[in-house]
């Protein structure tokens, strides 16, 4: 038996283990009315890594993702239980304002959804202004930085007043990423962000994910195993609402533990 160092301060030890994870998902269930779409999911996400959720459609990837910034409960009749602990704080705690949570945990959706009537500039700055920021210089700075970080600046810097909708699909998606980045989130949730994009648009987003993870913890839903393999450090495989297997992407990719995972990722389903 291995001899372990005695832990002097138990509280501190717990704290230290907890701090290694940016997000801890504990026994989370996601419901639509009485239908349970995800079941007792447990998962720990390390800071500044990319985690991919994969699995056949309808397995609960989106539901789980939306439970992580309390967006799930915005669907009428839907609710979640369990704990989602971000930086040691349970986001489902009664004292927590979900609006603040959604600011710290940004989200990018399947289809690019820029605000249709707004210019490129306003799309990125809208959240800031909504949160009471009105220093124009600072807003300009943040807009530029966000667009740069979303790898869109060079393409739009001379057309900031054009409508967001005038951009290509791939550019619109990067605009949505810039919009999320403007809020300086610590965690970025992405729900199949490339599913409506062409290969070039998709690979730009994938490159961006790799760059962004230096500063942000990213969780990405994808139906594309190869995309998960390219961009993620960790992969979680879900099936019928259950988390079946979770591990380093390399392990899931080369040597999955569970037969079900193997069958899914190698296309042997059905």
């Amino acid at each position: 038996m291995a001899i372990e160092e005695p832990i002097e301060d138990k509280e501190e030890a717990v704290q230290q283990t907890a701090e290694r994870y940016k997000v801890r998902i504990e026994k989370v269930n996601g419901w639509y009315g009485s239908k349970r779409a995800i079941r007792d999911v447990n998962l720990n996400v390390k800071e500044k890594t990319v985690t991919a959720f994969i699995g056949p459609s309808g397995c609960g990837k989106t539901t789980l993702l939306r439970c992580l910034n309390r967006m799930h409960e915005m669907t009428p009749g839907a609710h979640a239980d369990g704990r989602v602990v971000v930086d040691g704080i349970d986001i489902y705690d009664k004292s927590i304002d979900p609006v603040i949570i959604r600011r710290r945990i940004g989200m990018v959706f399947q289809k690019p959804n820029p605000f249709p009537t707004m210019s490129i500039f306003d799309n990125v700055s809208a959240g800031l202004r909504l949160n009471g920021m009105n220093n124009k210089t600072i807003i300009r700075e943040i807009v530029e930085e966000s667009l740069r970080n979303a790898a869109l600046w060079d393409e739009v810097k001379n057309d900031l007043d054009n409508p967001g909708m005038s951009l290509s699909g791939g550019q619109q998606q990067r605009l949505c990423i810039a919009r999320a980045l403007a809020m300086q989130p610590e965690v970025l949730l992405m729900d199949e962000p490339t599913s409506s994009l062409d290969p070039i648009g998709s690979s730009k987003i994938e490159e961006l994910v790799r760059v962004l993870k230096d500063n942000v913890t990213i969780i990405i839903v994808t139906h594309n195993m190869q995309q998960a393999a390219r961009v993620s450090d960790f992969t979680a495989f879900m099936y019928l609402g259950d988390l079946i297997e979770y591990g380093s992407t390399n392990q899931i990719f080369m040597n999955p533990e569970k037969e079900l995972t193997e069958r899914y990722i190698s296309g042997k389903f059905g």
């Binding site: 190869q226 990719f253 040597n255 999955p256 990722i265 190698s266």
Partner: protein, 214 residues
Amino acid sequence: MTRLLDIGLQRITNLIMDMGHLSVDLVNSALESYDKGIMLRPQIFEGSEKLRFLQMEVTDFATELIARYQPVARDLRLIQSFMDAAYGFSRFGRYAYDIAEVLETIGPFPDCDKSQVTTMAKTVKEMIELSVTSLEKLDKNASQKLYMMDDSVDSVFRNYLKKAITQTKKRNFEPKCYVSSLLILRYLERISDHACYIGDCVHYVVTGDPSPRR
């Protein structure tokens, strides 16, 4: 439902089995040619070249399968292992050629004591055959057996080396016999190692663990 990838995997399996059987034949003929003093160098050269081309074909085809179907998990391990095994089989061919060349260069050896070579050859032939069938049946347990046989091959080789040094001091020492045995034992020892690597590959395909011995 058959996946398109499965059709490719079947084709690459056929290629690799062809290589396996050809390499068994080549090593067997090379050993027989040494034993009986029959010159077979050109034929064995041809077979060894054929193995080399088949190996390139396996690598090309494996690369194509990876690029086209982006296989994962066991499928990917299988393709990786086929590439490694193809290299192993091409080495069998190459050592068969080296053995045949010994006879051509310094043979024949009608009066040499061939008992050491015969003993080791018997084990090594078994090992090659086992490596081929382990791949055919994806038998992960073959690697254990191969390593045990490899240990005995290694000890025969080491003992011969030691013994040969003392023998060279004796008066009736025949360099031709000593050098030919030593070279062939060495080639057989290399073949034995490659057979083990093929066993490792099979173990890796089946279990995902690349190093069964250590």
